[in-house]
């Protein structure tokens, strides 16, 4: 056991600093209100205890002015905090394009990380300092929640869809990753570590021996194996949409709507193709729901995004 008692968590990302500032400000406002209420109660309890000589004449009568006064007062103070908190939340939860994109698959009871270069890790995540790291989160079984306390970021990982999160680490070091949504017997063991490294060390780590083909290359093999290339390949005679340049583009759907082709769309298009039919194409693609595991799916999507 360390000699000191921790009072404040480590802060090692841009998001951590921003959240700390807001937290301290809101704590200060809450503390002021608490002191006000507690102080009033204490002074009234002492001053107007039974038998005390304090005068009881002319108690406060202006009910409505008082009520409206403190209602508006507290509301204004807290609406400012609401706006501040909402602005940071939108910034945190709308992922920017990442310098690096890493796929994270949660399963009972481990985190599996897949780097674009094909490197794989379990319960560890190596990232460079000062770069925007974008995470695509998937779950293979139940709902998990990906949580790095030192970065003040958290996002539930829901089976059947992709969620995204991002961070920009500011300090090198090792910080815990936790699962914060109860996910079964060994929920408390579903922990890992994010290892923030200097750029040079990170490059060395990426080049370590033993890492095989990149994620997209692995995906290309699976793309053939599952028969996707039979229709979506270059020499195909089937009338299927080309996937080149698909990623990030706007797709026209048969029902007249358009949708941005992000990971979540591509995932749905593979698993539930009949739900979002591309305008001008017959709905002939079979569903792959239940046939492709989360790991393989990520690789195929990485390949499609590389086209």
């Amino acid at each position: 056991m360390p000699a000191w008692i921790p009072f404040w968590p480590q802060t090692a990302a841009t998001s951590g600093v921003v959240v700390n500032t807001l937290f301290v400000a809101e704590l200060a406002v809450c503390f002021l209100i608490l002191v006000l209420v507690f102080g009033m109660m204490l002074s009234f309890c002492v001053r107007y205890r039974r038998g005390s000589p304090a005068s009881r004449t002319h108690p406060v009568q202006k009910t409505w002015k008082w009520e409206i006064g403190w209602t508006v007062g507290t509301l204004v103070a807290f609406l400012a905090l609401f706006v501040w908190g909402a602005a940071i939340y939108i910034w945190l939860y709308k992922s920017p394009p990442g310098d690096i994109e890493i796929y994270v698959v949660g399963k009972q009871w481990m985190w599996k990380m897949q780097h674009p270069g094909g490197q794989r890790e379990i319960d560890a995540l190596h990232v460079p300092v000062g770069k925007i790291v974008r995470l695509v989160l998937a779950s293979q079984d139940v709902i998990h929640s990906f949580y790095i306390p030192a970065f003040r970021i958290k996002h539930d990982v829901v089976p059947g869809t992709y969620e995204t999160a991002w961070f920009k680490a500011t300090e090198t070091g090792q910080y815990p990753i936790e699962c914060s949504e109860f996910c079964g017997t060994q929920h408390a063991d579903m922990k890992g570590e994010v290892i923030v490294m200097e750029a040079a060390a990170y490059t060395r780590w990426l080049a370590q021996p033993g890492s095989g083909p990149s994620l997209a290359q692995q995906g290309e093999a699976l793309f053939r194996q599952y028969g996707c290339s039979g229709c979506h390949g270059a020499g195909s005679t089937v009338h299927a949409p080309s996937l080149a340049g698909l990623s990030g583009s706007l797709v026209q759907l048969q029902d007249g709507s358009t949708v941005r082709a992000d990971e979540r769309y591509i995932r749905d298009a593979i698993l539930l193709p009949e739900n979002q039919i591309v305008a001008g194409f017959p709905p002939v693609m079979p569903s792959f729901s239940g046939q492709i595991g989360e790991d393989d799916l990520l690789k195929i999507i990485a390949y499609i995004q590389s086209l």
Partner: protein
């Protein structure tokens, strides 16, 4: 006095009949209140037992319970405390006992339905005990899908059925209260002459009636999913696990207000009586109760800020949550100002009430912290949340329940509790509570997730403090069981109105006679006509007491 002599000749509801069947088949709201009290006391100690094991286990980084046992303990603690103690606690006991007395009625509108509610409650309790004894449930009290439907190996179905049946008891009681409040008020008892406790019970009942059916539907779908494999919440079959969360919180957030509104009613009665002063801003207090009841239906999404709901809906839910704090703030300020220029005595119920105001304020303010979107991202599912809602539900509701129990104890039993012991227990509750739960705020910001059976060693000091506080709290909760039981036989006899209070319930003998009022009283005045300067007061039936 002639009326007292007449009352002494009428046997009280406790002594009028003595057979077992006169209790088990009673239609007297006062006896049914005591039956409910017996049932929820059993469940309070069942839930408390689980809490004791949890805190003992967490005193060490790696405790003595197996993970699967630990997970069953916090699930049992949550399910039992929420549905089998907190929700029925004040309404089914104090509400049942006092509502007819306070409005000048002879009983609730549907006495048989009231008794049926108790039997249904016990049936649901038996089903729950079956689930617990057979092997327990390891999902947490929220039964999140798809874990609960596809992966859990516990008795989810039995526990879900217990909750389903329990809901009918809640609905029966709530319906009874609403109809009683509308139809059975004594002549002259207008809406704005109702004691605030009645307003609180009334607004609670409205929320119960509107929210509980949604819980029933949700649990039923969960059961169908679980048994027949329909897959409405199963992503593997095209279902949506978040749909379950929406439905669950659409009930369970209003349920938080089901737990706290009656407590606010109790505290309003206590503060005004022991300050010998009319409550400040009566109309504001009633409107605040109703506003909380309404807004409580529009904030459920704040449990899902990190779950993957749309960013903009999260913003709206956050805003609504800030709005619901406004009526709560009005209430806190009004209780405080009620003390101003009062003549305050610090009997045990008042100590509980003042403790409630402080703990509720801390719970409310930390509620705003977790309602702030960016902060919730960090704090969601950590011990900060645990501390926050225990400040509301335990520091708030349980304190108010004990305060109300002491305050009306002389009315219910005809005997005084031992005052010094009660004050000691009240202060012990406040101390033990803060020591238990304040360290959990710090653990939460440090990033300790809830439902973890093990944690890193550096967090041990805060956990040890919390467990130490829990042991004090346990003593503070067991103590009343001893001295209140003692007072049943050896307690000093209390007259009809030991606190010199103004409510109609204090104008009948203690314990009240079987049909409450020999003649239906006529109400001529609002509820809190206390004269602070000379200590006199005017009861609601118009009688002036020096």
């Amino acid at each position: 006095m002639a009326t007292v002599a007449a009352d002494l000749e009428t046997p009280s509801f406790l002594t009028s009949e003595n057979t077992l069947s006169s209790w088990l088949l009673t239609r007297d709201h006062k006896r049914i209140a005591l039956l409910f009290f017996a049932s929820i006391t059993v469940f309070f100690f069942v839930g408390g037992f689980a809490a004791t094991l949890i805190r003992l286990h967490l005193a060490m980084p790696i405790g003595f319970l197996q993970p699967s046992i630990y997970n069953r303990m916090f699930t049992m603690h949550g399910v039992v405390m929420v549905w089998f103690f907190l929700i029925p606690s004040i309404p089914a006991t104090l509400g049942n006992f006092l509502l007819p007395l306070m409005i000048g009625a002879h009983d609730l509108a549907f006495p048989r339905l009231n008794l049926a509610s108790w039997y249904v409650f016990n049936l649901s309790g038996l089903v729950l005990l079956y689930a617990l004894i057979m092997g327990g449930v390891d999902t947490g009290w929220t039964f999140y899908t798809p874990f609960s439907t596809l992966y859990s190996n516990g008795y989810v179905l039995a526990a879900a059925m217990a909750v389903f049946i329990n809901g009918f008891s809640t609905i029966m009681t709530a319906l009874n209260f609403v109809v009683t409040t509308h139809r059975l008020r004594a002549p002259g008892m207008t809406w704005y002459r109702l004691p605030l406790f009645v307003w609180a019970i009334y607004s609670t009942s409205i929320v119960m009636l509107l929210a509980t059916p949604v819980l029933a539907m949700t649990v039923l779908i969960l059961a169908v999913d679980h048994v027949l494999g329909v897959g409405l919440f199963d992503p593997g079959r095209g279902g949506d696990p978040l749909l379950y969360q929406h439905l669950f919180w659409f009930y369970s957030h209003p349920a938080v207000y089901i737990m706290i509104l009656p407590a606010m009613g109790v505290v309003s009665e206590l503060v005004t009586c022991y300050a010998r002063k009319t409550v400040f801003g009566y109309t504001g207090m009633t409107l605040a109760l109703m506003a909380i009841a309404v807004i409580s239906f529009f904030v459920w999404g704040h449990h899902m800020f990190t779950a993957g709901i749309s960013i903009y809906s999260a913003v709206v839910f956050s805003l609504m949550t800030f709005f619901v704090a406004v009526p709560s703030a009005i209430k806190v300020f009004n209780w405080t100002v009620t003390l101003h220029k009062g003549s305050i005595s610090f009997d045990a119920p008042m100590i509980y009430a003042l403790g409630f105001v402080l703990l509720f304020t801390v719970g409310g303010l930390t509620g705003l912290i977790v309602a702030t979107l960016a902060l919730d991202v960090h704090l969601q599912d950590t011990y900060f949340i645990i501390a926050h809602f225990h400040y509301i539900m335990v520091g708030g509701t349980v304190s108010a329940f004990f305060g109300g129990l002491h305050y009306w104890w002389p009315k219910i039993t005809g005997r005084f509790y031992p005052e010094m012991w009660a004050r000691f227990a009240a202060i012990l509750t406040f101390t033990g509570f803060n020591l238990t739960f304040f360290p959990q705020f710090i653990l939460g910001y440090l990033g300790m997730p809830r439902r973890y059976y093990a944690y890193p060693p550096e967090w041990q000091p805060w956990n040890v403090l919390s467990s130490a506080g829990a042991s004090i709290l346990a003593v503070a909760y067991v103590l009343p069981l001893g001295y209140l039981g003692w007072s049943l036989i050896w307690g000093r006899r209390a007259g009809p109105n030991p606190w010199h209070a103004t409510g109609l319930e204090w104008q009948v003998s203690s314990p009240p006679p079987q049909y409450n009022f020999a003649r239906t009283p006529t109400v001529t005045i609002g509820p809190y006509a206390y004269n602070t300067e000379d200590g006199s007061y005017t009861a609601q039936d118009g009688t002036v007491h020096a």
